[in-house]
C-alpha cells in the first residue's frame, strides 16, 4: 500500500484538492492583487445570464467539436480498416499516418499558419488552380473553425492505432461465417466489424470529446480567438479571464461550468452506449 502512496497523495494534491478549491474560488471575486470576497453564486449567474462571450465561446467550441470529433473518428477508422487488410508495407503506412501526431502542437500551429496563408500558403496554392475561390482560412470569420477542424484531421495517429488494435481482436471465424452465408465485404463490415469494435469507438469517442472541448494551443497561437471572436474556444476564453484579466474567481466558475458540461456529455455517451455498444463478453 505504501508503494501506491505517492500516486494517492498526488491525486489528493493535484486533482481532488484543486477541484474542491476551484469550486470555492468560483464563489469569490478573487483577483490576484486584492483580498477575495465571498460573492456566492454571482459568478455563475453572470456567466449564465449576462456573459455574451461565454455564449459565443461555448458555441464556437461546440461547432469545433461537432466537426472535429466525428471526422477524426471516421478518418481514423477508415485508415485502420485499410491497414487491417493484411497489406504489405503496413509498418511504413502506420508510421506515416502516426507521424503528424508526434509533432509538437506549438510547431504544428506555426506550420499551419503558414499553410493557411491566403496569399502564399500551400492550401490556396493547391485549391486556386482547381477553381476554388481564394479562401481566407484562419483569417475569415466563417472559415476559421473549418480551418481548425481541417488541421485537427492531421492528428489522428493514436486513435487509428487504437482502432487497429480493436480490429485485430475480431475473431477470424466471424468473417468466415459471413462468407459461408454468402455475404460480401459490406456485410462483413456492417454485421461483424462495426459491432465488434463499438467498445473501441466508445473509448475513442469519449476521450476525443473531452480533449477536443479543451483545445487551447491552436487558438492561442494561431488566431488569438479571432477574427472577431470567431475562434474564441472555451479554454482560451477561460485563460484570458484568468491570466490576462486575472479574474481568478470568474475563471474558476467558467472552469466548473465546463466541467459540468463535459461530465454531462460523458454520462450521456455512457448511457447511450447500452443501445449501440456490443460487448462480446456479455
Amino acid at each position: 500500500m505504501a508503494c501506491a502512496a505517492p500516486a494517492v497523495l498526488g491525486f489528493v494534491f493535484w486533482q481532488l484538492g484543486p477541484i474542491v478549491a476551484s469550486l470555492l474560488i468560483a464563489l469569490t471575486d478573487w483577483r490576484i492583487a486584492a483580498t477575495p470576497n465571498w460573492i456566492g453564486l454571482d459568478n455563475f449567474q453572470q456567466i449564465l445570464t449576462g456573459d455574451r462571450l461565454f455564449r459565443k465561446s461555448l458555441g464556437v467550441t461546440a461547432y469545433y467539436a461537432l466537426g472535429s470529433v466525428p471526422l477524426r473518428l471516421l478518418a481514423a477508422f477508415v485508415l485502420a480498416v485499410l491497414l487491417n487488410q493484411k497489406i504489405r508495407g503496413l509498418p511504413i503506412f502506420r508510421t506515416i499516418f502516426y507521424l503528424p501526431s508526434i509533432v509538437p502542437l506549438i510547431a504544428s500551429s506555426v506550420l499551419w499558419i503558414w499553410l493557411f496563408n491566403p496569399d502564399f500558403g500551400l492550401l490556396n496554392a493547391i485549391l486556386t488552380p482547381l477553381g476554388v475561390p481564394r479562401l481566407q482560412w484562419i483569417y475569415g470569420t466563417r472559415t476559421v473553425i473549418p480551418a481548425l477542424i481541417l488541421m485537427s484531421m492531421w492528428d489522428i495517429g493514436p486513435m487509428m492505432i487504437i482502432f487497429l488494435a480493436g480490429l485485430q481482436g475480431v475473431p477470424r471465424q466471424f468473417y468466415e461465417a459471413v462468407e459461408i452465408d454468402g455475404g460480401n465485404p459490406w456485410h462483413k463490415m456492417r454485421h461483424v466489424t462495426i459491432p465488434m469494435v463499438t467498445p473501441t469507438i466508445l473509448f475513442n469517442l469519449i476521450l476525443s470529446v473531452i480533449g477536443t472541448m479543451q483545445t487551447f494551443v491552436q487558438a492561442y497561437v494561431m488566431t488569438e480567438g479571432g477574427p472577431d471572436n470567431a475562434s474564441l474556444l472555451y479554454v482560451l476564453y477561460l485563460y484570458n479571464k484568468a491570466f490576462e484579466q486575472s479574474q481568478m474567481g470568474y475563471a474558476s466558475a467558467l472552469a466548473w461550468v465546463l466541467f459540468v458540461i463535459i461530465a454531462g456529455l460523458s454520462v450521456l455517451l455512457f448511457r447511450s452506449s447500452s443501445r449501440w455498444v456490443y460487448y462480446a463478453g456479455r
Partner: protein
Amino acid sequence: MSAAEPVKASAPSRLGRTGRARFGALCAYALLLTGSVVMLIPLVWLVRSSFMGLGQIFIFPPEWIPDPWQWDNYPKALTTIPFVRYFFNTLFILVPTVVGTVITAALAAFGFSRLSWPGRDWVFGVLLSALMLPYAVTLIPTFLLWARIGLINTYWPLVLPDWFGGSIFYVFLLRQFFLTLPRELDEAAIIDGANPLQVLRHVVVPLSRPALITVAIFTALFEWNDFLGPLIYLNDSRQFTLALGLAEFTGLYTSQWHLLMAASTVVIAPVLVLFLFAQRYFIEGITLTGIKA
C-alpha cells in the same frame, strides 16, 4: 435491402473471388497512398520553406525545390533567439520529470497490481477517474497555490507534480503491463526471502523494460511539447522552454517564414527521430491502454 441479397452476391461474378480480392487490395493501396501523401505534404512544405530565401518563398504558384539552398536560415533562426539556452532549459525540466514519473508510476502500478490490500481496486478506480477530469478545472487553484508559495518563475511547478505518480495514465499503462506477468515469479522471490520492493526491483522491473521505456518516452514527449504549463509558470524569458521560445519567435518574426520554418524544424526534428527509432514503444503503449480499457 432485402434478406435475399446475400444469396445474389454469392452467384459467380465476372471478376471471381480472387479477382475481386485483388481489386479490393488495389483500392486499399490507392487510398493509403493518397492518404500518405496528404499526411506528409505539410512536413515537406515545412522543410522546403526552411531552406528557401524570402524571394523564392513568396513566389506564386509556389516552387518545391529551394534554389539556392539557404543553409544559413538555420544559424540565423537559432541565434536571433537563444534557442540553445531554451534547449537546456527544456532538458532541465524534462530529465527530472521523466525520472520521477517512471519511478513513482512504477511503484504505484506495482502497489495496484501485485500487492493486495483492502480497498485497492476501489482506490484505483477513484484515481482513474482523474483521466476524465478536464485540466481546466485544476489549472487555476494549482497556479494560485504555487503563486502563494512564491515559486512562480521556477521549475518546481513543472517538475514536482510528476514525482507523485505522474499522470494516472502512466500508472494505468504500467499496471496493465504488470498484470500480464506471471505471479509465480513474485511468489518464488518471496519464498527466497525477498521483500516487496526487492520483488519490484529484481523481478518486475527487468521484465517490464519495454513498458517502462514507453512511459519514459511518453513523458519526455509530453514535456518537450508542453506549452500551457511553461506559459503560465514561466514569465522570465531566460527560463523559457523550446516551446515557449518558438511561440516568442513567432510573435517577433511574423512573415519571416523561412526563419520560422527553420526554427519549427529544429523543434520537431528530435521528436521525429525519437519516434522513428522507438516506434514500437509508442504503438505498444497505446495499444495496451486502448484495448483493455
